[in-house]
Amino acid sequence: MDITFDHVSYTYQPNTPFEHRALDDLSFTIQSGSFVAVIGHTGSGKSTLIQHLNGLLQPTEGQVQVGPYTMKAGEKNKQLMKLRENVGVVFQYPEHQLFEETVEKDIGFGPQNFGVGQDEIKRRTKEAVQAVKLPEELLERSPFDLSGGQMRRVAISGVLAMDPEVLVLDEPTAGLDPNGRKEIMDMFYHLHQEKGLTTVLVTHSMEDALAYADHIIIMNQGKVYREGTPLEIFKQQQALEDVQLDVPEVVSFLKMARDYGLDLEYEGQTIAELAKEIALKVKGGGDHE
C-alpha cells in the first residue's frame, strides 16, 4: 500500500498553554513494498507520525492516504476498522500489552475483533508463531510465565495474525540483547520480502537502518529533515550531527581514516570487502611519504 502524507500538521492540546505542534506541514510518500526507516531524536515527531498510519491520531491539517484509505483534517473516517485491519503496529515494548490467559487467546484477540472466523484464526496463529520461532507448545501457557524475549514474540505474533499489508515497527528491538535483536530484525525483513509488505521502522539504530531499509526519512521538529537511500543519507555526516544523530560505525570509521591518508568511499561494502580495499591501499604503500 502506498502511503502519502500531504501537508500534514498535528497539534497536541490546541488552544491551551500546552499547545504543541508535533508535525509541521509534513509531506512525503512511501511506495508500496518498500522498507522505510524513520529516524530522529526523541521529540522529533516520529511517534506522532506513526500514530497517523492506523488512525490513532487524525491530522489537524492536511491529509494522510494509506492505500485506499484517506484521513483528512476535520472529516470523520468511516473506514477506520478496515484501515486498522490492514496496518499492523508493533509498539515499543509490546509485551506490556499482553493480557489474555493463554498465548493462543492473546494472539487471536486482534483477528477475533475484526470478525475473523475461528478456523482462520487457528491457521493464522500457527503461521504467526512459526514466523517468530515460538515453539507451539507455548500456545497453552500463560504469556506471563514466559521470558521477556518470548513475551515480545507473542506480542509480535498478535500483530502478524491480523495479516496486515503495512507493518509499522516502533523500535521493536529495544531492550533485547544483540542476538535477539538480529533475530527479530531478520524475521521482519524475511516477512517483508515474503509477503510483499510495506514496512515502516522507527529506530534509533543507524546500523539497522543501513542493514534493512531501502529508504530513510530523517525527522526533525515535525518536518522531514532529509530523505533518501541509506547511502545518500549517511554521506551527510555533518547534517546528521546537526540534529544530534550518529552515522553507522563504518561511515564514521572511514571518515576518520581520511585523516590517516586512507581515502575510501563507503558504497555499501561488507566488512570483508572493506578489509580487502584497505589491505590493497596499505600494502600498495607508496602514495604517502
Binding site: 531524536h41 526523541t42 521470558s147 521477556g148 524475549g149 529495544a174 531492550g175 533485547l176 540483547d177 544483540p178 542476538n179 535477539g180 534509533h204 544530534q244 544523530l245 550518529d246 560505525e249 563504518v250 564514521s252 570509521f253 576518520m256 581514516a257 585523516d259 590517516y260 591518508g261 586512507l262 566488512i271 570483508a272 572493506l274 578489509a275 580487502k276 584497505i278 589491505a279 591501499k281 596499505v282 600494502k283 604503500g285 604517502h288
Partner: protein, 279 residues
C-alpha cells in the same frame, strides 16, 4: 574489616528448588576503583549477579562479601549503603514529586541528618549535571535525564560500589552518551568501583575489566582487549564483537600485520598507519 572489595565465593543461585540453577559456582572479586563490565546473552545470569550484590536476592550456596561483610538479611541495610544500583527502566525508579525529593528519598531511608542531606543533594545533582532541575517533576524529564537523577540518588548515599544494570538500554543515543559521560566523570571525581551490566560494546571497551557470563558460569575474565581478541569464542556463546575488532580480523586475513587487538577506530588506524610506513 574494610578491604574495599566485593567478593563472590563459589556462589550458586536458583529461584526455586525445582528450577535450574541460574548461577553455578561463581567466584570473582571487584576491587577499589575498578570499572568492571559484566556481559553475556539474555538469561546468562548477569542481572542475578547484580541483585545478589546488594541483597535483593540471597544465594543458596556460597557467600558474597561486601567490604568483608557477608551479605545476609541482617546486613542488607549496611550493604545497600555501600552498593548502589541503577536499573534499566527510568520510569520505574522514581518516588518523589520533585527531583530533589527523589534524591532525598534514599538518604531518608538511611536516616541521614537533614543538614547533610541538603549538602549531598546539591553535590550529587551537580555531579550528574542536573543542578538546574532540582524543583522539576521527574516525569517531565527525558530518559537520559531521569537516569542521571537515578545516579544522583545513588551517589547521595555515598556508596563505594555502583551497579548499572543495563541502565542505558532504554535510552536513545543522546541519552546513552549523557549517561556514559556522567559515569566517566563521577568515577574520576570519586572513589568508586563501577559494575556495568550491559550489551553495549562501546561501554565494554571503556571498562577496566570484563567478566563474561555464559549459562550461569563465569566464562572468562580479562581486559577488554583480551576478551575481544577471543572473538570466535565470544560468537560461539552468542555475543557480538565491536566493528573495529571484526575489521581487524579481516585485515589480518588479508595479510595486514596487526600486533594488538584494537579497541577503537583510532587504535586501528594508528596501527595501519605504522604498518603502511614499514611496508
Amino acid at each position: 574489616m574494610g578491604e574495599r572489595q566485593v567478593e563472590f565465593r563459589n556462589v550458586s543461585f536458583r529461584y526455586q528448588e525445582d528450577m535450574p540453577w541460574v548461577l553455578r559456582d561463581v567466584s570473582f572479586t571487584i576491587g577499589p576503583d575498578e570499572w568492571v563490565a559484566v556481559i553475556g546473552h539474555n538469561g546468562s545470569g548477569k542481572s542475578t549477579i547484580a541483585k545478589l550484590m546488594n541483597g535483593l536476592l540471597f544465594p543458596q550456596e556460597g557467600e558474597i562479601l561486601v567490604d568483608g561483610m557477608p551479605v545476609n538479611e541482617k546486613t542488607i541495610w549496611d550493604v545497600r549503603k555501600q552498593v548502589g544500583m541503577v536499573f534499566q527502566n527510568p520510569d520505574n525508579q522514581f518516588v518523589g514529586t520533585t527531583v530533589k525529593d527523589d534524591v532525598a528519598f534514599g538518604m531518608e531511608n538511611h536516616g541521614m541528618p537533614r543538614e547533610l542531606m541538603l549538602e549531598r543533594i546539591k553535590e550529587s545533582l551537580s555531579a550528574v549535571g542536573m543542578s538546574d532541575y532540582e524543583q522539576q517533576e521527574p516525569h517531565r524529564l527525558s530518559g537520559g535525564q531521569k537516569q542521571r537523577v537515578a545516579i544522583a540518588s545513588v551517589l547521595a548515599v555515598s556508596p563505594k560500589f555502583i551497579i548499572l544494570d543495563e541502565a542505558t538500554a532504554m535510552l536513545d543515543p543522546k541519552g546513552r552518551k549523557e549517561i556514559m559521560n556522567t559515569v566517566h566523570r563521577v568515577q574520576e571525581e570519586r572513589d568508586l568501583s563501577l559494575i556495568t551490566i550491559t550489551h553495549d560494546l562501546h561501554e565494554v571497551t571503556q571498562s577496566s575489566r570484563v567478566i563474561v557470563m555464559n549459562k550461569g558460569e563465569v566464562w572468562m575474565q580479562g581486559s577488554p582487549r583480551d576478551v575481544f581478541s577471543k572473538k570466535e569464542h565470544l560468537q560461539e556463546i552468542g555475543l557480538d564483537t565491536p566493528f573495529v575488532s571484526k575489521l581487524a580480523d579481516h585485515l589480518k586475513a588479508e595479510g595486514v600485520p596487526l600486533t594488538r587487538e584494537p579497541l577503537n577506530h583510532q587504535e586501528l588506524l594508528e596501527e595501519l598507519w605504522t604498518s603502511r610506513s614499514i611496508m
